[in-house]
């Protein structure tokens, strides 16, 4: 019995963490290539709107997820053209992307406000899913959750174990040297930006197709920004992104329970918790880094114009 309650809590933690894992892992790859894309929130919210719209039109959750990821890729491509192609300022371009994404998502989602659909189907394996205590946690999630976990492992393997991953990291650490070696720096960066966009869009689609499941304006509520902080918090390591996302997911669930239990704390304080926790996490991290931790990619945020 208590085991089931523990499982229930863990399941909610995992679902709250999934959008952060998805968006965070995408941004991690982008940043490892040396590009800081602050537009995660914008790509995510557009992914949520587009994903929901496509799913409503086609009746398919899978196509909806693809639509969300596609919308993220489109916005990311715009960002890539600006920052990688035209060497525009990355911070400002990322903000532009967030504003644009919020606006576009409102346009795309306008006619879907107030509509509901069935949440994404959950895995059901006869025998396994009904295992007491662990069945639902391990064998009863929707496809997004598994995709997120697979993605973390895949990115870890790609970055650390493949030649292409090594190249990507080298581009992020020293674009001049890799350029001199004949690596197509801008191509690598552009692809990394697109990957980040796809992941952010997918994270958004998860929110509107599985987590809530409906579309509401600005429904990402700062999750894109938290994903950005998570990458810093994770010191640009894939598994730490997942761990950090689970911590944040846990904090979110705790906040919801505290709100329900009515601890006498103002609801606004509890709602502010994720943001305060993010700041606290960044502070603790930099305190830790003083005693020798890993800094970010050396060329992060620097624009690159190839020498002739």
């Amino acid at each position: 019995m208590t085991l089931d309650i523990v499982q229930m809590v863990l399941v909610t933690v995992l679902t709250a963490a999934t959008p952060l894992i998805l968006a965070g892992i995408g941004e991690l790859v982008t940043e490892r290539a040396g590009v800081l894309n602050l537009g995660v929130e914008g790509m995510m919210v557009l992914g949520a709107a587009a994903g929901f719209a496509v799913a409503m039109q086609t009746g398919s959750t899978g196509l909806g997820a693809l639509g969300g990821a596609g919308a993220g890729v489109l916005l990311a491509a715009l960002f890539g053209v600006l920052t990688v192609g035209l060497a525009a300022n990355q911070v400002a371009s990322g903000l532009a992307l967030t504003i644009l994404g919020l606006g576009l998502s409102g346009l795309v989602g306008a006619s879907y406000v107030g509509m509901k659909r069935e949440p994404a189907p959950h895995l059901a394996l006869p025998g396994l899913t009904d295992l007491p205590g662990i069945g639902h946690l391990f064998f009863g999630q929707d496809a997004f959750v598994y995709a997120a976990l697979v993605l973390v492992v895949a990115v870890w393997w790609f970055l650390g174990r493949t030649r292409a991953g090594l190249t990507l990291r080298a581009v992020g650490d020293d674009h001049t040297a890799t350029h001199a070696l004949g690596v197509k720096v801008r191509k690598v960066r552009f692809l990394a930006v697109l990957f980040g966009g796809a992941c952010a869009g997918l994270a958004g689609a998860y929110l509107s197709l599985a987590y809530t499941p409906f579309w509401a304006p600005a429904m990402t509520a700062g999750r894109g920004w938290i994903a950005l902080a998570l990458v810093v918090f994770a010191s640009w390591r894939p598994f730490r992104v997942a761990a950090g996302a689970l911590l944040f997911g846990g904090a979110t669930v705790l906040q919801l329970h505290a709100q329900a239990a009515g601890l006498g704390l103002p609801g606004q304080l509890l709602s502010a918790m994720p943001y305060l926790a993010t700041i606290l996490a960044l502070v603790l991290l930099s305190l830790g880094r003083r005693r020798g931790g890993s800094p970010g990619p050396a060329a992060l945020g620097q624009v690159f114009t190839p020498s002739r």
Partner: protein, 363 residues
């Protein structure tokens, strides 16, 4: 096919001024296509967005009232961005400024006797509160090396929730039928109107004054030089002995103070009480204004009017043409992106080189 960017030896002031105009024209073009996709004639939409707000006295005042906070916040932000520091939490500093100034007004509510001090005290409180709030990310950046981008943004959400809590809790009007709002400010706590029976209030003048002061500081003082130098050549600035930490604190103080002042000007001017929402996103829109104005005070002034115009136009278009407000926001985001992209033309010779070969320098 490859794209080559060759830095220009020196920037031409003509191109510097022209590229934002070019970006704006392109954004209007794309906006026109979007509008016709939504089933409205682009010419009609253009009139509603850009011409109609300037055709009547009251709507010109509305444009000025929107442009003032935008210009004020954007000018403060320009100090930050010029120095290569990223305060993107002006919205939060604005909210805290409005809240702190509003608290002074509420404390003085119903006061009798000498009351001339109340309004100045409100403005000072608002400015200082915005400044203090901006010190949080600045100090974390200077002392601990925490990214100011993320902390300043996170504090926006915190500020909005704080305001929400205050107007639903301690500051709620006891006679307000449980509406989440404070008492209405007394007339001595309101900014006076500039003309009888019109909506333009003295806040516009305060903003203009602050803007002029900021322009002077940036262009004519050693501190202004320091800000510009750190942005363009951090190495030279270090050799000159300028302290990065001191500068970080200073530009955050300026941008936070400006945003706080804008907040209390709005609360003491147009709104006249505290309520859960005191900003239609001025702090974020000001970021667009700052870049559209090329981070220079005169440019920012023009940009603020253009953006205010599209905002008022957007509100009208929502009523008259049934065009969604999100269209305006998407337009503004697109505009910022195009401005940043067009900036390349001012900085570099852009060449499309056929084939995979890099262009050879003609030396």
């Amino acid at each position: 096919m490859r794209l080559d960017l060759i830095p220009r030896a020196r920037r031409s002031p003509w191109l510097d001024a022209l590229t934002p105009v070019l970006a704006f024209a392109l954004a209007v073009l794309i906006g026109g296509i979007a509008v016709s996709a939504l089933g409205v004639a682009p010419s009609q939409a253009f009139l509603t967005y850009f011409v109609a707000p300037l055709s009547e006295v009251w709507s010109i005042q509305e444009v000025a009232l929107k442009a003032a906070p935008l210009a004020l916040i954007a000018t403060g932000l320009a100090f930050c961005y010029r120095a290569g520091l990223w305060n993107i939490g002006a919205e939060g500093q604005y909210v805290v400024g409005g809240l702190a100034g509003g608290i002074v007004a509420i404390a003085a509510h119903g006061m009798e006797g000498f009351s001339l001090w109340v309004l100045p005290a409100m403005l000072v409180a608002g400015t200082l509160a915005g400044l203090a709030y901006a010190m949080i990310p600045a100090l974390l950046k200077v002392r601990l090396g925490v990214s100011e981008i993320l902390t300043s943004l996170m504090l926006v959400y915190v500020a909005q929730l704080l305001l929400d809590y205050m107007v639903r809790g301690p500051l709620r009007d006891p006679k307000g039928y449980n509406f989440p709002q404070s008492v209405g400010f007394d007339s001595f706590a309101r900014l006076p109107y500039l003309m009888e029976g019109e909506s333009l209030h003295a806040g516009v003048l305060v903003a203009a004054l602050a803007l002029a002061l900021a322009a002077l500081v940036l262009a004519r003082t050693l501190f202004g030089f320091e800000v510009r130098l750190v942005g363009t050549s951090p190495r030279a600035a270090r050799f000159a002995g300028f302290s990065q930490a001191r500068l970080t604190l200073a530009v955050f103080a300026i941008s936070g103070g400006a945003a706080g002042l804008a907040g209390i000007l709005e609360v003491a001017g147009r709104i006249g009480q505290l309520q859960p929402e005191i900003s239609p996103g001025y702090g974020f829109t000001a970021i667009i204004v700052a870049f559209l104005g090329r981070l220079s005070p005169p440019g920012i002034l023009i940009a603020a009017f253009v953006i205010a115009l599209t905002t008022i136009g957007g509100e009208n278009a929502q009523i008259d043409l049934k065009l969604p407000l999100d269209l305006t926001r998407a337009f503004q985001g697109l505009l910022l992106g195009l401005v940043l992209g067009a900036d390349v033309i001012a900085r570099c010779h852009v060449r499309l080189v056929p084939g995979g070969q890099a262009a050879r320098p003609e030396v």
